[in-house]
Subunit: 341 residues, 2 copies
């Protein structure tokens, strides 16, 4: 997907959790954003200049990107004025929501009239509409899994890929969500794929590769999420991971927005993910834990990570505060391997 960057990042009027697409793209692809556009009620500031579509166009923007990942993936009708204004100002539109831009009559007609393009990241490439075969592929795979949604699975996968590459390891980040696809420029929008084909799409996303190659696959949802666990399981089975990294938010006690559902303990999350992953890769192992400790003091964060590491016998890192190097050490066989690389 050849995305029309740089973009004007549309933050609409959502909270930080729903703005994770904007936050992710702005962090990992700062080159891709010339400014931000917020509606009244927005709780997010990317630190970019606030701009109208016309001002963004003048500043070099080629598109308006909807930086939102809301539950249900819908486009509320009060955003349509902005989308139409962006088209009128000369910008293409980029969206990763379930609601298709082309399904909105005003948006479609304006784009057609002006010759603008509508990019839909959740429209899966037909090559992902396949039934999984369960055949083991060559090459090695790491999948990030989570205790909940929005706990840093994409961030951890990108940080792990960066660290692997820095050590000279042949590695690729494999995007499975809209934000990851916007960052990488390609991927499989796994939660938008027809359910019969989810595991098959995961197989197609990380094809056979050289034996020392690592695919680092962005996880989706959580086995403990009552709405999305099926998506998570299909991705887990199709990815056939050799290694998993469990991602968690240190201060979250319940599934986001579903207070009745407690987040699992890290031990429980590791246990269930490994049990289910063994179906397609009996050799799967957990190699580390990635924790968002942003709501803890530095001292509390360090204590949390030390306690978890001791209890689980695995490296536990906050990839934003520090590095994922200890997890990559464990993945590649310990620090000795680092020196050899």
């Amino acid at each position: 997907m050849d995305l029309p960057y740089p973009c004007l990042m549309f933050l609409a009027d959502v909270d930080r959790v729903s703005a994770k697409t904007a936050l992710g793209v702005a962090y990992w692809r700062p080159d891709a954003c010339v400014g931000q556009l917020r509606l009244k009620g927005s709780e997010v500031d990317l630190g970019l200049a606030d701009m109208s579509p016309a001002a963004a166009k003048a500043a070099g923007a080629r598109s308006l990107l909807i930086g939102v990942a809301n539950a249900g993936g819908f486009i509320p009708s009060h955003w349509e004025d902005v989308l139409v204004e962006a088209l009128e100002a000369g910008l293409d539109l980029v969206s990763g929501l379930h609601t298709r831009l082309a399904s909105l009559p005003r948006v479609r007609e304006t784009a057609e009239r002006l010759g603008r393009r509508l990019f839909e990241a959740r429209e899966a490439d037909p090559r992902f509409n396949v039934v999984a075969e369960g055949v083991k592929r060559t090459g090695q795979r790491l999948l990030t899994v989570g205790t909940d949604c929005a706990v840093g699975k994409m961030y951890a996968a990108l940080a792990l890929t960066k660290e692997l590459k820095a050590r000279g390891v042949n590695a690729d980040f494999r995007a499975t969500g809209q934000t990851g696809i916007f960052i990488a420029g390609s991927g499989a929008p796994i939660d938008a794929i027809v359910s019969d084909f989810v595991a098959g799409a995961a197989e197609a996303l990380s094809p056979s590769a050289a034996v020392d190659h690592w695919d680092v696959i962005e996880g989706q949802g959580s086995l403990f999420h009552p709405a999305y666990a099926g998506v998570t399981l299909g991705l887990l089975h199709g990815s056939q991971p050799d290694a998993i990294v469990v991602c968690h938010d240190a201060t979250r006690t319940a599934i986001d927005g579903l207070e009745r559902f407690p987040t699992p303990s890290l031990a429980e999350a590791i246990d269930l993910n490994l049990r289910l992953a063994r179906l397609t890769n009996p050799a799967v192992r957990a190699v580390g834990v990635s924790v968002n400790t942003s709501r803890l003091s530095p001292e509390a964060a360090a204590a949390y990570l030390n306690d978890a590491a001791e209890q689980l016998g695995l490296p536990c890192c906050d990839p934003v505060r520090a590095s994922v190097a200890p997890i990559v050490d464990a993945l590649l066989g310990g620090p000795a391997r680092r020196d050899a690389a």
Copy 2:
């Protein structure tokens, strides 16, 4: 969905496993079929008269129904001549495959020219495109689950519904696959739903009901199937079953078509289904096992069912050879409840 019955059942050239749609509809809705149409290579005989589309039309048929559930749900190009011939003969078309009839140019154009209708059972009603909320609903739910695909989950659900109704219990069969939808006339084509919405569709399929009402929900796939376990898990979580019945084929040792994947033991299947189902309904219990023993002698079948019942402490029945009454006894609290009904 107001299906144009009776139909001419199209068996194409597939084996018995892929003809399960035809076999199911012919068994449960004999009123709905006037004849069968087989291609060279067909291994299935429904015991209906072989007819051309024109002969079926003369015999009162209103449609040709594609009685096939193949892996991938595709329509091979060599079936198209028959579909066009049926349209020309005056029949509507009914399909439950992933490939949409309307996506085949010759079929679409012929239907448009002649004013015939194309029924697509795998086109989900938009009311099923919702994110699950995980809120417990009133009323009671039984879900059939399986050690594999095509082990009798739909048959068991229909037999259980029939037995419940015979005892005066307020019960509904809830279809989740094309065959079930063809039998019941409505349902959610769960494996064709966008993966994010599978659990939500399952919630919408069995809404809140009277406290003594039972929804008997047709299961899909298997938690032990490397391609479809995610579909199974989404359905399990959204259904929030109070009771599960595990379905199995007594002579199957590996997942159909995937010899590298052994079928689980019944104990293993019960354990994993209960563990995962507890997320949305901690009170879930297994109430019985439904076994396809058609490839065993009557004596071997009886021995198999007795052994399994003793080992598991649950009623084990072959719903085709005998009745599911012992499972309904366990569901409703033992035979005493039967007398009271």
